[in-house]
Symmetry: C2
Subunit: 471 residues, 2 copies
């Protein structure tokens, strides 16, 4: 169906419907995304304050057949938040809907508007002596509506699940402009189809999430962090099993780091203090959070000893203070920034069945080596089977020299992931970057069902056209 | 759209398409349901062995516009498994698709066909030294396809979630007869809309689940069970908070029991041994499962002592052996049977925000008392805010005497649940029993979206017509 640009007459129409201050001049920051792959466009920019404002905007866009681009923190890595072609959209930024509507510590529930910055939600939970466990690099600027729309992952998925698992209910404006009042705080509610999970991860193509009821958790009484060197990814997986056998769900993070990542830090971020004098080929960052009287550092020492005697680990550091914990996490959290500074030829957010990971790492390295003399920084959330598999030019060379083969590298990695029953988008989503991958690797029956659902809920096709499903 | 009965010509057509033994004479057991509210009908009964058989059946039904009724273990409590009116359906029982296709202990994954009995899946997990935590009264006869289609709950939801939370991937036949191959074993996979969760809980109205990849958990090293008497539901909720503060996720069950239930046991199941000499007004059954070296009975003793000194509990039994654990659970698990023998006027599977529960209990009792001198057996999964709120005739009277006011009782209870932001179907689903409630209490925008999705995926309307959505 043909869409129209959000032009001056449309803006004039909107201004008659909305309170002052909702429509704003378009600023350049709404037209870029972190990886600099696309230049967005915007016909009209709206900063609604209420769900009714959002409903008014979407209803009008529906009548005028104008594309709508929901905008959160702008930190997405797959281009879901920019519309580089087609008629210029109405950009709806949720940033002024940033109220924590309610905190129910006794129910472990917090109700937040979509524009709340993730770190602010974490802080509001902490103030009520609770934990909101979603944690990722962009937490200081990403907004919960975007986290929900992309079903964001992060470092605590192993214990607490993806964003989907942290959401009890939603308020959302559907493509018709109608408001779904679904802010349930219930743990069990089997009344009909799961509209909540349909909107979560739909990347703004089925509606605009305006608020969410989020699950909180008790704050662990004792948190411990360690970095252990392991002989191989297989040993890392065995260590994961061992740690879960010893402390169960208390393992909240289990991050794999390759030597290449530590060497990148030395190369471009030398002020980041590293725990090992000689970087091991593989190491893991483990975090435990124990309830009650348990001492996490003791549990980690016990784990370390068992791992040493089982030959799974050969060196390690257990944080003895909050400062040391912070230092270990600083290493992990600067890996993406080091990658950015080095400049990747191709980067991949993939997941695999846990048992396929050692095989994948071996075969992917071989496949990539066939294309060129690349450096590989492979790290990620091993506990979830999620690897950030990034391919870099050899030292002294720039990514631009390999631009011509970047597509081949990506294809080789994704083909292998697919062959091993993995996913080519573990936690970042599809956006515009992977819309073709979805067609190539996705199940055709699922894809047809997705298209049918999209058409049913958004017959005019106004919601974030071109994201997820190619138009 | 008009549907046709599954008649002899249709059966003849099917028999040419399917291996021998798939089509069977209709037996009466497929036409009843546990509460005896409906008498089902069936034109043709099919017992497919493979997903391809199922696809053939659904494709043919689609062409002939014949309704399809997926059939699992037949244990559902809301009539989703019987079709009492309209053209006689093709009943598709998954009972011969009962193979455990794979167990991946190192990934904590088990792949089961839809016809597997829940207890068999539990046993297969146990054989691999893992836990499949879904547990409910019907586990000896319900089948996992039905558990998934109704998003079944049970006694371990507090720790492990509903069936939805235990599923990583699905294989399913959509209403078109196409097979969705979505048996992912991945913990993270953000490639498009969440078709999995849309089919889970859809009660067979959007397709037939034929297999699932299920999440396993480590078996806790030490399990402990206690029954503590508490002074009020509010005290029970405070005890829940206390227990989670002390042992975190290790609390796997937290069941509320009212004196009425214990008295019913004495009345109709006197051989069930009860732990208290004088039944307390309220008590809770708590189960903990600790990993590693922790001793669950010690943790329960610690909890009991703290609860006693805080005035939250005043008496209790901590199981000292497996036999005692079994005894405590026997009390809990015979409550539904006792209810059945007494015969309820009206029974309700409701959930509420945790903090609303004390208020609900008080106000519901008052509302019910206005209608008649009823006995109330209110018990359930307090940790999930899920109460089985059942209303019975006074002693010496039969339910039939109160048949005329049963509707008023139900309405009073459901109206109050709705007013307190609760759900009128916590874990049993909508089926046919609550299709009107869904219209009365459901969000109209969600309902419209559900209808649009149903029409998009099942334009002819063959899948379980009349369940969930009124036709």
């Amino acid at each position: 169906m043909t869409l129209n640009a959000a032009d001056a007459p449309f803006a004039a129409h909107l201004s008659g419907l909305l309170p002052e201050g909702v429509l704003r001049p378009v600023e350049p920051r709404y037209l870029t995304e972190p990886r600099g792959r696309w230049q967005g466009q915007a016909g009209v920019l709206a900063l609604p304050r209420t769900v009714d404002d959002v409903a008014t905007l979407v209803r009008a866009a529906n009548q005028w057949r104008v594309p709508v681009l929901p905008y959160g923190g702008g930190t997405g890595l797959v281009g879901g938040q920019v519309m580089p072609d087609g008629p210029a959209p109405l950009v709806v930024s949720l940033e002024r809907m940033n109220r924590i509507r309610a905190v129910h510590p006794e129910e472990n529930v917090l109700v937040a508007e979509a524009g709340c910055i993730l770190a602010d939600i974490q802080a509001a939970a902490a103030k009520a002596d609770r934990l909101f466990p979603l944690s990722l690099a962009a937490e200081g600027s990403c907004r919960i509506g975007g986290n929900l729309s992309t079903n964001a992952g992060g470092v605590n998925v192993l214990r607490y699940g993806n964003t989907r698992d942290l959401c009890l209910g939603l308020e959302a404006v559907l493509p018709s402009g109608q408001v779904w009042h679904g802010l349930s705080r219930l743990r069990k509610d089997n009344t009909g189809y799961d509209l909540r999970n349909l909107l979560i991860g739909a990347e703004g193509t089925l509606g605009i999430i305006t608020a969410a009821a989020l699950k909180l958790s008790p704050v662990p009484g004792s948190i411990g962090t360690a970095m252990l060197s392991v002989s191989s990814p297989k040993a890392a997986l065995e260590l994961l099993s061992l740690s879960r056998a010893q402390v169960g769900e208390a393992v909240s993070a289990f991050e794999l780091i390759h030597r290449q990542g530590l060497e990148f830090l030395t190369e471009v971020l030398p002020t980041v203090r590293q725990p090992f004098e000689t970087p091991p080929e593989w190491c893991v960052l483990i975090e435990l959070g124990l309830s009650g009287d348990g001492e996490a550092s003791e549990a980690l020492e016990h784990l370390f000893e068992t791992a040493l005697s089982a030959g799974l680990a050969d060196d390690g550091v257990i944080a003895q203070s909050e400062a040391q914990r912070y230092e270990l996490w600083t290493v992990r959290e600067h890996l993406p920034e080091a990658n950015r500074l080095i400049g990747s030829v191709s980067s991949h957010d993939v997941s695999l069945p846990l048992s396929a990971i050692p095989d994948f790492i071996k075969r992917a390295a071989a496949a990539v080596a066939e294309i060129g003399p690349f450096r590989i920084n492979n790290f990620g959330h091993l506990g979830d089977g999620n690897l950030h598999y990034n391919v870099f030019p050899p030292k002294g060379h720039s990514r631009t020299e390999f631009a011509a083969v970047a597509g081949r590298v990506q294809r080789a990695v994704h083909d292998l992931v697919h062959a091993l029953d993995g996913s080519v988008s573990a936690e970042h989503g599809i956006g515009r970057l992977k819309a073709d991958d979805l067609i190539r690797y996705g199940d055709p029956v699922k894809l047809a069902a997705m298209r049918a659902i999209k058409t049913a809920l958004d017959p005019v096709g106004i919601m974030n056209p071109g994201a997820v499903l190619r138009t």
